[in-house]
Amino acid sequence: MTDWYPLWNSLRIAAISSVIVFFAGIFAAFYIARLPRIVKGFLDVVLTLPMVLPPTVCGYVLLLLFGSKRPLGSFLAQHGIRFVMTWYGGIIASAVVAFPLMYRTARGAFESFDENLAWAGQTLGLSNSWIFWHVRMPACRQGILAGVVLSFARALGEYGATSMLIGYIPGKTATVSTTVYQLWRTNDEAGALFWVLVNLAISFAVLLTVNLLENRRKKA
């Protein structure tokens, strides 16, 4: 009987971090587009950095922040929150790495939004938040959805930052990607291959979804 824990753990980490990244990404994309050009350029670089940095560097920075001997880490530990070597630490690691994908796709979608629609709503007396959720988001939904799926896929496949922050504890912090490495390292080639195939199947399904969404967007 296969132990499915890594799949379950990977899925919940990816799902929760996608939700976080969804809100953080659209929030950043929406507000940063409105900032003065210099500030915008700077923030844009900072927020996209995790996409081009090696995930191990992200993991290192996260350890600097959340390590139990660091100010923030020890403060959180006093309140019973520990991101190092816990499954939910994986949420932080995946979210940081997946965030730029959501941020950049959402920004692209917002930039192609016809601002006249928002202005029309305002002159009709509709509140800005109503316009955001009922006009802007539906008009950009294909792009936003593609961003969500992409960041979910990225979170699911996260290895570097995750392994540094939460390591590999079977039944506790093991994810699909860390399991592949662990099984291969311990010469369990068949086990590794099994998880590789699981991983391939999920990634394939996710990318297929993205392509379908993009095709629909082109038609619309």
Partner: protein, 347 residues
Amino acid sequence: MALEVEIEKRAGDFHLQTAFTCGQELLGILGASGCGKSMTLKCIAGIEKPDRGRIVLDGRVLFDSDRGISLSPQKRRVGCLFQNYALFPNRNVRQNILCGLQWEKDRARRENEAGRVIEMLGLSECEKLYPAQLSGGQAQRTALGRILVNRPELLMLDEPFSALDTHLRLKLQMELLNLLKDFGKPVLMVTHDRDEAFRMCRRLGVMERGRMLAVKGTRELFADPESRAAAVITGCKNIAAAVKTGEYEVFVPSWNIHLCTDRPVGDHLTAVGIRAHHFSPSETRNRFRMRVIREMEEPFEWVSEFRTEGQDSESPAVWWRYARELRPDTMPEYLGTAPESVMLLYG
């Protein structure tokens, strides 16, 4: 019932500085693209914020830089018909119109009012259609319906016909005039099309490079545009530098002719304009010798280009338009123009 606007705004090299009032009428703002007409509408709607100035609608202060007042677009009660109509793409005609009715808290009354307006605008057959499926006319009526149910105190139309085919334009202009007859509030319409402006508006303002040049009755504006820019935007084809030579006389050096005028010439005259339609071989006043150099036939008119005798070879040929049935067998050697057709332009 009036709108008073007096605003100033700088954006890069562009400097908007405009002042006008609009009563219970349809006031047109005529200007080339980039002259600041749309920016003016956005400032009134509250989408753009002027650097300085005052906007008052029926005594309600919408914007006052001295008193630090700037109402949000939501609170201004200013309806704006955008160039592309800005219908919400994920909502059908009825749902779009209902968006203008959110102020009405009673659901039944909301549905009633939407139904009434859909009926009035003849949108019954397409009320379930989405914006992408609508014709230009239907889209315009839907956008207008969405604004009217919102009960604005002022209506602004931003190039309302530019997205439509030419043959539809005239029809929709008549429809819109008919709809606005009972509106009873100030209406501002921005356009770059002089025919449209002439047909729709009794009073017109001309805008050029961020400034309002003249606001006056449409007929008076076309008869006496006063400035070179206004003459150009009202479609005057023949404009040439001129100097004052008498109380009622000017000299046009590049055409080498003297012209009598029907009104006294001001000292700071810079140019004269004569519309292409205002030359005639039978006119005995202001006669000059000329030679036609090119001709073009149109469905109902002839367009000729001529040069006056002794015209400066560097200066452009003069345009003359006349109805087909007035075409003589042999080209005349002389043309004349009435003194009232000589438009005196200052600056």
